[in-house]
Each structure stands twice: as structure tokens, then as C-alpha cells.
Symmetry: C2
């Protein structure tokens, strides 16, 4: 490139007044082939990567995942004493309880995504801390290393994924669970889950596409009806909240913005058992009333097969749909199943009461990927944001304590008191059911007594609680602004 610019100056003489400002480019010539050789050489001597830390260096905590558990852990980790290396296929945490609202434009996508660099700035500005856009593919507990592969899927003209190794002093699994499909054919291909921001984007694009296509001449009545039939499978909080948002969108915005097709839009919620089964019976009844009042059809059935334009229930009946959202809960991921550790009931990574993986020193697991081993005598906790967040917080304080008493480095077994065990106290469950309505179940377990409230008051509590839980002030500010704008101007309907 330097040669290039020299020759450019010679041949073109850099005519015009601007010439003196055209700079030399310090790039040295190199070719893709040379790079490949360089990389192969690196691979030849074993995978490139981050080697073990030395005694004088800060110990390294490697965290897999940027969900509720991992993000909370990294936020609280004392980076004056630890280096943090996060390995995750996404560089942000998703504020999942508000994700359903983004599908219909009540909130913007960016308002529910918190970049890890804001949660834990060390990963972007501390010399030994990193965020690595990659997936963990294997663990060697004896060598205290993990193997990873970069994630570049979905981009054109990018690098091929490559593998590398990272040595850890402490390793924390916070890599979450997978959406359950129960092996039903066609779910992965034709339905959309609601767990990541790109899922919400997909749902939004599809919904707006269907609304627009159904207004174009040449479409049959039946096809129009099918396109505008939104089916949600799974009557847990996510399915109920999404159904509520959707029918509110139809009542408030579709009637006004798509008035030609408003009578064709319908929402059906399919659930095999009872909706919101973990909630108090009065709250369930209230939710059902609200959903039905806002036009959601509740259907009890089991899905047997999913085709591109209809699903088939176990009694053989066909349900045509234009948009299918699948939210039937989560189960252990194939990565978790492949790990060489004893499992909890349900196939999660088994942990003791300090969230350690007992068979592997310096390894911990938190959030949806982990569960108490049967030997602890404790039940596996539900896959809830509040469990994950509490575990992240607990483990950060445990690890900070370990570091302070000199046990931060790998295999540095120190005689010490680990402090109190992790105890989960359920703070109550919340779910919205459409505009200005929510359920708040403050009972500590399904069978205990406690307060359960529904309606505007709980909607207000819900909004306030979430606003203060959104991690950064920036996003709190944005969510408040989004809610205000939606209130003032209605939802945004541009399909970008």
C-alpha cells in the first residue's frame, strides 16, 4: 500500500488543491495466502489461544454466556483482582421479560439489549480481559482449558470460523438452555422462538409482511385469513405476554393502521394443559378473562406436526397459520448434554449448594444450564430470570471472596470457609396480559399462601420493577422513552 500511494502520487500527480492532504497509507503488502500460512503455522503448534496465567498475574475467570446469570456474575466480579474472559455467541444481554413487547413495536429492539461492555467495561478496556465472539465446544477439566470456535454465521464475505483454546483459573458455565420442541417435526423449520432479539425481529418482519401482503389484490379470502392468523403455542408467561401484546397491537394499532384487513387478524393460543400453570388459580382466571376479552382464542390441544402453512393437532385437525410462535419452555442443550460432568435431574450440569461442579475443581455452573445434584437433596430450580440473576450475584461474591483469601488461581486449594450456601427465595412471579394489566403472584411457592394481585396496580408494579432492573441507565431511559412515545404516538410500524 505504501508503494501504491507512492506510485499514485507519481502517476496522477495528485492534481488539485487537495493533493497535499492525501496521505500515505502504512499498509504493508500482504496476501490472503500469506495469512493462511501464518494461521496454519499457529495451528500446527497446537491451537492458538490464551495460555495459563502466571503466579504474579491476576487469575482469569472464564464465563460462558451473556444471559442473566453470566451477565450478573460479570457485573459484580471484582476486576481489580480477576481478569474476565467472556465467551458467548452474542455481545449483549437480552432483557427477556420485555422481548415480547419489541415484536409489535411497543419497545425498540435496542432498548432490551444491553452490551456486555456496558455491564462489565473491563472486557473492552482491561489488558487481560476479553469478550470473545465464540462458542465453547469442549472442556478439559484436568488441563484447565476450554476449546472454542468463533461464531460468524449469517454474514457474507467473512472469515471461516476457527478454533482456539482458553486456559482458565475459574470456569463458569452460564450458557443457558435450549427451546424445547419435544421432537415435533417442523417446529425448528417453521416456527419462531422468542428468546433472542433476532427472533423478535423475525416475528415483527413476518407480522408486518403478512399485514401488507393481505392487502394486495389477487389474494384469496382464505389465504388472507390464514396469513393474518397468529398462533402461539405454549401458555407460559412468554406465550401469554406475547398473545396479550399482539392482541393489544391489533386492538390499538392494526384497526387504525391496517383498517382494510382488521377483521381478518386473529390470535390463537394453544396450550396442552393450563395457561400460566405456576400462578395462583385466581390470577389464572383473571388472565383468561383478560385474554378472551381482548380477543385471544384459547385452544387446548397438543401439536403433532408443523407444516409451512398449518399445524396439525393430535386429533388430526388442521390449524392454518401465517405466523407461528413457539414458547413451550426450555430443556438442556446438546452442548450441556455432551459435557463430561454428572447431571442433575432433567439433564442439567449438576452443582452442589455452592454452585460448584463437584467433580471438576474450579468449575461452576449457574442459570438455566445448571441444577442441584440429586445428592444435595434439593429440587432443581425453575428456569427463571430471577433464579439465574440471583445465582450470578451469589457466585460473584463467592469468587471475590475466594480471590481475596488467595484462592483465585487454578488448583490453589485454600483452607477456607466458602460462606453461606446458595438459597433461593422466590420473590414472586409477574406476567402482563395486555395493556395496563398484569399479574403479580407474590407467593413463595405454588402451594404456599401469599399475595396475588392483578390489574392496573400490578401493571404499574411490573413496569416499575422492570424499569429498575434493566441494567444500565441508558436503557432505563430508553425504555421509559419508548413507553412514552408509544403512549403518545402509537406503535411504530415501519418494516425495516
Amino acid at each position: 500500500m505504501a508503494a501504491l500511494l507512492r506510485s499514485l502520487s507519481r502517476t496522477s500527480g495528485l492534481r488539485g488543491c487537495a493533493s497535499s492532504f492525501y496521505h500515505r497509507n502504512p499498509y504493508s503488502p500482504f496476501s490472503a495466502a500469506a495469512e493462511a500460512v501464518a494461521r496454519d503455522a499457529a495451528v500446527g503448534r497446537g491451537l492458538a489461544g490464551l495460555g495459563p496465567t502466571a503466579k504474579g498475574e491476576k487469575p482469569r475467570v472464564v464465563v460462558l454466556g451473556t444471559g442473566w446469570a453470566g451477565s450478573r456474575l460479570m457485573k459484580d466480579l471484582d476486576t481489580t483482582g480477576y481478569d474476565v474472559v467472556c465467551v458467548s455467541p452474542r455481545n449483549h444481554m437480552v432483557f427477556t421479560p420485555l422481548l415480547a413487547s419489541t415484536c409489535v413495536g411497543t419497545l425498540e429492539f435496542r432498548s432490551v439489549a444491553e452490551p456486555l461492555a456496558r455491564i462489565q467495561p473491563a472486557v473492552s478496556n482491561s489488558p487481560g480481559s476479553y469478550f470473545l465472539l465464540a462458542r465453547c465446544t469442549g472442556v478439559d477439566p484436568d488441563a484447565h482449558t476450554i476449546e472454542c470456535e468463533t461464531v460468524t454465521e449469517g454474514e457474507k464475505d467473512t472469515l471461516k470460523p476457527w478454533k482456539f483454546k482458553v486456559a482458565y483459573d475459574k470456569l463458569v458455565f452460564g450458557c443457558g438452555a435450549e427451546a424445547s420442541t419435544f421432537g415435533i417435526h417442523g417446529v425448528t423449520e417453521h416456527a419462531t422462538f422468542l428468546r433472542e432479539v433476532y427472533h423478535a425481529q423475525e416475528i415483527r418482519r413476518k407480522l408486518l409482511l403478512n399485514l401488507m401482503l393481505s392487502d394486495v389484490p389477487g389474494i384469496s379470502e382464505e389465504e388472507k385469513r390464514r396469513l393474518l392468523h397468529c398462533v402461539v403455542v405454549g401458555g407460559g408467561p412468554t406465550g401469554v405476554e406475547f398473545s396479550g401484546e399482539l392482541s393489544d397491537f391489533i386492538i390499538r394499532d392494526v384497526k387504525q393502521r391496517y383498517s382494510h384487513v382488521k377483521d381478518y387478524v386473529h390470535v390463537t393460543l394453544i396450550e396442552a394443559n393450563e395457561i400460566l400453570s405456576s400462578f395462583d388459580v385466581r390470577l389464572r382466571q383473571y388472565a383468561i378473562n383478560q385474554l378472551v376479552k381482548s380477543g385471544v382464542r384459547l385452544v387446548r390441544g397438543i401439536v403433532k406436526d408443523v407444516l409451512p402453512d398449518k399445524l396439525i393437532l393430535d386429533n388430526g385437525e388442521e390449524v392454518p397459520y401465517g405466523l407461528l410462535v413457539w414458547s413451550t419452555g426450555v430443556g438442556a442443550s446438546s452442548f450441556v448434554k455432551s459435557l463430561p460432568f454428572p447431571k442433575s435431574p432433567g439433564g442439567r450440569i449438576g452443582v452442589d449448594e455452592w454452585l460448584r461442579v463437584p467433580s471438576a475443581p474450579d468449575v461452576f455452573a449457574i442459570g438455566d444450564c445448571s441444577g442441584f445434584l440429586e445428592s444435595t437433596g434439593k429440587e432443581v430450580l425453575p428456569a427463571l430470570a430471577q433464579v439465574a440473576e440471583r445465582q450470578g450475584k451469589y457466585l460473584a461474591s463467592l469468587l471475590n471472596h475466594v480471590m481475596k483469601v488467595g484462592g483465585g488461581h487454578a488448583n490453589s486449594v485454600v483452607e477456607m470457609d466458602l460462606g453461606p450456601k446458595f438459597v433461593y427465595k422466590h420473590m414472586g412471579s409477574m406476567a402482563t396480559v395486555g395493556r395496563y394489566k398484569a399479574l403479580v403472584d407474590l407467593r413463595q411457592s405454588k402451594d404456599s399462601r401469599g399475595v396475588s394481585i392483578a390489574g392496573f396496580a400490578s401493571w404499574f408494579i411490573w413496569r416499575s420493577a422492570y424499569l429498575t432492573r434493566v441494567v444500565s441507565w441508558r436503557n432505563r431511559f430508553y425504555v421509559a422513552i419508548n413507553w412514552l412515545t408509544t403512549l403518545l404516538f402509537g406503535r411504530d410500524i415501519s418494516r425495516i
Copy 2:
């Protein structure tokens, strides 16, 4: 479906308290095959579509495109006297002058997209007005009809595109131009343009991906340097603004958020001639100073070939890149070239001084797709937002006038005075060059005298001017909030 639900109630007995709220679904059974038959039947009797309007009905204005010209026209069209049918592959207008800012997170994507339904609510709530997500594929001026095809690209499990016809009383071409590639191999495949919101999204995703990948162990120094080399081809306002935003992003945000790789990030702007050639010479000099000061390398050269990871200049030198943005202006689109109308110099749809297509009654053309016929003795106007916007405004008032004197319907030739011809008066050009710096050239033409200002004052004018031009209050509000948030908290860097 009614049968389905009846049988469901029979077989499962709808156990539990919720049963009485499970509703019947009014869907009648139908199959995809039945639909196909219905549609084929429609096609058999000629394409489905919107037929000609009757004498007593409102005349129909069909507008092709949702750019500056078409959107402004539709905004001002008197919908008490006209029905509006808009045919466009996107349902929103893009506020193009602010698009460069969205690539680096200064503004959110949604802040620069204005849904057509907000610009002209009639398309969503008036019985005879529509927005049709489609592309025009042909015109029959004698029959006063156009043929269109729906646009569903990029979505999985959606309908196959279908064709339909729309009869018009007045037809307005506002379908814009295409990015120029000068037939250079590889541009379309490997470079990204900067004309649509999805282009800005692509640039942002690629930029953040490259920043993250370059931090992963196993990457070579050269590869890292290549990945983080952003090359912009074309030194017009778009190229200069994007380069300025990018280098500001590097100075303010990358240094802080990606401090491990900050010394590898570089921006190069390649231009065959002079940058900002339409601007006053002092402003050009100022822009060059500012760009160089903020670290942009200016290279004079002509691109000969574009490969996935490098481009080749006409003297054979290679320039490796990780991100390539192409903004070398626009030219007539292949659709415009295919139209059976006389063309202006440059191949645009030729119009007279009232923006009519003289050979086709009731047909008009505005914005980048149109140009004065040589016979008018006027020069083709530049492809600028302000030209398009002024033409849209002018034509709306002309069409409103025509309708009021009874000439709204097709072929209803009325003896009338069309009013003044369209005269373009250049209001000045503006371009930003990084943070708090802009150029404002208030000269009316390249050779005339006039005011030209640069620096903070013009940046302030620029921001204010754009804020009041963003169409809706909602987006003005959002842009202001975005700017405020960026000022307070820095740019958003989550890659969603």
C-alpha cells in the same frame, strides 16, 4: 376449525377451571390446494387487481415509490378528492441524510424511517386508498393500467410473489435511481451501498463483527489489520459523511470500547477526482482538513476490481479491506430504462416543465427517476433529496388543482391553466464532517457567489434543519433523544 374445536371439547372435555373460556374458532376448514385453485381462477380471467374508477367515485392517483419525491407528494395530496394507491417495495420513507449516522449507532435505525401510514394515513384507513408492497413491472399508458408483482424476498415460508394490475387516473413515477457501479466486477457482491436502512444495518453488523473477531486469539496481525480497515469509495456527501461518522466512532467509542484493537482500525476514502466536488473550494479544503485531522486517509484512485477481501486499483495495486462501502452516486435504473417513454439526457424518464410525461396522458415523473426533456431547454436536475422533495410538493399542488377543476379522472381533458411551471431554486448544500462540524454551502449554483460556512455554527444549522425536516413529530422526538443519549452515554454497540 369450528369442527376442530367442537371435537376438542368433546375429546378433552376442556378440563379445569378455564374450560368455559375456551372459545370456538370461526375458521372454516380450507386447504392450500383450494386457495391455489381460487387464485388460478382469478388469474384465468385476467390478473386480479384494482379496476378503473367510475365517474362518481374519487379519481385514483397511483404513486410508485416511497422516497423523498413520492412521500412528499402523497403527504400533500388532497385525499378528500383523490384516492391514493402507493406501490413500493418498502412501507416507509428513509430519511437518507441521517442514514450514515445509524451505521455507527449515533442514531437508531427506526429514527430515520418514517412509515408511509404516518405520512399519509389515507393509505391505511381510507376505503379506496392502499399501500401495496410490490414493484411495478410494466405500464400500459393506453389502457391506463400498470402491472405489478409483490415483493416477499428474504422471508422464509411466505407466499410466492404474484402479479396483479392497477388502473390509474393519474400515475406518478417516483421510483428513484440505482446505485452506480460503473460495471465494475464484484461491487454488487462484496460492497455495501448506503441507500436503505438494511444497508446501514448490514454495515453496522459487519463493523461490529470485525471489531469482535479481531480480538479473538488465533488471528494474524495482517488479518486483523485487514478486518479493521474500512474503505469508502466515493467522495460525495454520503461518502464524506460516512467517513466522518466512522472516524468519530473510532475516536470516541472504539478507543474506549475496543481498546485492545484500537490501533488497528483505519478509514480510507477513495475518490477518483475531488471530494465534495459540488462544494465551494474553501469548504472542500475545510472538509479535507477535518477528515485528515480525524484520521481518515484520502486516496485518489480508480477502482478496477473488487474481490471479497481486497480491491484492486487501476494501477494494479491491491487494497485489503474488512468493510467496503460504495457511494459513487446513482444512475437510471433498469426499470426506468425499460419504460416506453422518451428519456432525458442521462436516461431518466423525460418530463416537461410541469413534470408531465408528454407522450402519455395522466403520467408524471418526479425525483431521481425523472429529468427534463432536452426539448425543454433545461438542464437535468441533480439527484438530491431537496429536488425530489420540492417536485413532490409541486406536483401535489398541481394534481390537487387539476382535481378541483374537474380533471381528476383519466383522460378527462379539461381546458385549464396548469399554473406556474416547476422551477428549482437550490437552497444550498450541507454535509457533516465528523462531530460538531459541518459544511453549509448556500450558493445557488456551482459558479455563483454566496455564503459558505463551516464548523460548529453550520453543524448546529445542519442538525436543526434536519430535525425540522424529519417528517413526523415522533421521529423528530426520537432523533433528538438519540442525539442526547449518544452525547450522554456514548454510542450503542450491541450487535443484534
